[in-house]
Symmetry: C2
Subunit: 579 residues, 2 copies
Amino acid sequence: MYRTHNCGELRLTDAGKTVTLSGWIQRIRDLGGLLFIDLRDRYGVTQLFINPEQHNALYQQAKAYGREFVIQVIGKVSERSSRNPNMVTGDIEVIASDINLLNASITPPFTIEDDTDGGDDLRMQYRYLDIRRDPVRKNLLARHQVARAVREYMDGKGFVDVETPFLIKSTPEGARDFVVPSRLNEGQFYALPQSPQTFKQLLMVAGMDRYYQIVRCFRDEDLRADRQPEFTQIDCEMAFVDQEDVLNMFEGMVKHVFKSVRGINLSDFPRMSYADALKYYGNDKPDLRFGMQLIEITEIVKGRNFKVFDDAEYTAAIVAENCSEYTRKHLDELTEFVKRPQIGAGGLVYIRCATDGTYKSSVDKFYTQDDLKNIAAHCACKPGDLILILSGKQHKTRKAMSELRLEMGNRLGLRRKEDYKPLWVLDFPLLEWDEDDKRWNAMHHPFTSWKPEDESLMTDNPGAVRANAYDVVINGVELASGSIRIHNRAKQELMFRTIGLTDDEARYKFGFILNAFEYGAPPHGGIAFGFDRFCSIVTANLDYIRDFIAFPKNNAGRDVMLDAPSDIDLRLKNDLGLK
Amino acid sequence: MYRTHNCGELRLTDAGKTVTLSGWIQRIRDLGGLLFIDLRDRYGVTQLFINPEQHNALYQQAKAYGREFVIQVIGKVSERSSRNPNMVTGDIEVIASDINLLNASITPPFTIEDDTDGGDDLRMQYRYLDIRRDPVRKNLLARHQVARAVREYMDGKGFVDVETPFLIKSTPEGARDFVVPSRLNEGQFYALPQSPQTFKQLLMVAGMDRYYQIVRCFRDEDLRADRQPEFTQIDCEMAFVDQEDVLNMFEGMVKHVFKSVRGINLSDFPRMSYADALKYYGNDKPDLRFGMQLIEITEIVKGRNFKVFDDAEYTAAIVAENCSEYTRKHLDELTEFVKRPQIGAGGLVYIRCATDGTYKSSVDKFYTQDDLKNIAAHCACKPGDLILILSGKQHKTRKAMSELRLEMGNRLGLRRKEDYKPLWVLDFPLLEWDEDDKRWNAMHHPFTSWKPEDESLMTDNPGAVRANAYDVVINGVELASGSIRIHNRAKQELMFRTIGLTDDEARYKFGFILNAFEYGAPPHGGIAFGFDRFCSIVTANLDYIRDFIAFPKNNAGRDVMLDAPSDIDLRLKNDLGLK
């Protein structure tokens, strides 16, 4: 037996007990002959004490140990002379009477501390040491907590965890598939699932009624920061439901997770149409932790010979409260910000609403005090506030305005980590136009149904058709996305045709689900949560999604610890018919 | 809202309520104008009743419906005139006042009933209809129950569910890897994990202390019946443990699952060495539901001029109680059985111990009544019993005897499905000789440690080294397999060398774990359960492992529903650098 207790559980009430602990040496301090060792395991840190006057051999032995050595210690729990209130075990120490060295350690390439000196690459290469650090370990433990809370809720609601296959058929729509060459069927390939979408729908056709799975998904995308080629999804589907049933069920799930993991009571989620989200926040995942809504002023500002506004399809303002005293430097920074290529605005117009009731703007040449007052009134701008204005094509300007709004939110400290503002975004467009391929794409995915009242638009004006689709957004981040599905073969075929699949292609790729719809497919719908992101949102650690993944890949899709991907055996290549 | 209740929950106490149900039509009976519909969903079946005198239009409408149509019905719960005690909802029916057709169905290719007329291939092709059948649905629900019970136990014991990667490095030992060509790293490949073995060990090095995962694994083997290319494993690992700790922890887990899912209290698992398992049962996964142990009689039967026994390395008997009256036909069948190529015995010798105290054997020519009496006494054979004897090379004869023993167990009804006899098999050999490759192979896997007292044999006599390895066996089936691992670089390198890896190969394939062992690796060990098999054992449905998998592959590794594997896009092939 390696231990009677772990390194996080001994308290003053244990004083006098003889215990055995095992763990890693966090640090050793030799205070003029008195040796202290901080012994660490997953559960905490306990201080060991060796008195050379009592145990000189032990003292000599232990003095030679280094950081991250693994030892087993036998000793007596004793009250500390100077307690450490910052440690839960800080009231006691263990007076060692025997120590066994279980394993030595060479010097780690970075310090095993909260603020490590290890860079990202080094930490990933020695991930097994990185995970010993408190912040990473806590994130992995939190991930398990979130999964448990999700399962608790779903199990309680009668959802069945059904495992769907990983070796499936390649039917790429959108992202690229990872594929797996088949040895037994030479020249043929399996694909790894981008999501279990069709399987969960088949489970509804199969009468499973309520399904969920916390499941790995794969997308072979050109990688960007914090986008992993494999990621985990909480995948859910229900039969005999309309949109309202799904929203209620999963709003309940999110609330349960926040309550269970963080003790946070989320209030009911407001609902906003996609159109309103774009109108008031400039994007479809608004951060509702602060107001600063977009105010359209396209017409109000026309007719004053300011060509930019006169020619603009769309002009909008946001009001930054109490910012009328922003310096030239601040305003220049904001102008630079909106002109960055990722944002792409041509420039920024401001109006200072001074506390004395006067106005000062970057377009004073064109606008009188009355004009400015009129604009300010339209924006409900108070003395002391600052109006920021962008102008141009509507879609692009809204996006730029959204970025400016979020930047101002950051600058003004309005996006507090611990402040949670969830909402439902509803009524997404069914389709979006793909300029490159000159065809319609499914905005959500091609299994999403549309509003019955928009049916006639499917042929007349596909871009105007609204989907039965919904997103959960929290603090400007898309947490989940779902829809009521098509469950009728003719409608599904119409959808495939609309996005440019020939009937032959549709049958070849999706024949199994088209067939399934002919055998009594029930109405059904569902949702999928990004699990990695969910964990990072619940724990308010949004910036470190990668640290919620035990063994992540880098931005080039490589596992630098394993050194994968790599060459494979020539024999294996031959078996697979690869040259 | 599609329903107020499901089809399994209405009882007599609900009589008088107006309810809405949705589901599939199991069958329609038109009894001279009175129409009865059995409406089915996941939760049960409820009888609907339509009286044409009250609702003639409804009657005409419903009469046209067929099997597997999906309908929504509104009606009043009413006590049945003739109750059906075989249905939980059999006391009531719903008198329909309105029915909406939600979806029609063409005629299913097989009947949706417990005993379907659909063959295996058809059922797999239309798996979404097959799952509507009670037995398959119940197996999938049971699988979820088993998973929940496992998680409940593991969570309660402080194990952390950590997700390990699926896109890893190819390091085949034993079975072939499935590989995934990398687009971003042309010419290189990821592999799909055969198990998360090295990751769970790295998590122990990382200080996670207790890990588990219910995880998909992949093996590209030449397929046999009920061997799937992807399968699910309950994967577990613990740090700071010796073998005894692991056995206790996971014996507890198995007991918890049986108790929780089936209400069955398993008694403590007996323990048996690998050597004893072979000696007494002829194989390393003995079925302890019945005795009939192998009794070696090699020496006792020599010296009577019966050349077969005189020349044999090994001769053994089993005693079939009360079978002395077995007919010639029975004995011929058994002889044929042992002579089948899969078993490969040369022949079968029997001794009938008649109730009158005389003996009759197939080798009477060589053995006197006293000889036979002597053998019978050695076998503790009673009057009325039958002795069956095989002879030859020890290993092969034991295997054949094991098969004969199991066959006799079947014939005598001694292998009762509901009778559970678990045990631990311990002290496996570390290595086994590979005749084809002329080298030692790891019997469990190359991360398994050996008994310290056998250390010197590693060079002198590798085949005699005993591993710190253990299996859970229930009713002759291997449920789980595990070991205490090597946690020391030098020992791991010795192991790799012993199984024929050069130091360069070892570093190339397993450098990451060899390195990890230098940074304070704790002693650790674990176990992995075959989850698909676990489900089938717990539910006593051992013959249908495939029906615990929602979408299984056939024996050629194909998903006949999806028609996968398949060709892939030429563009995708080009992107991957595949010709």
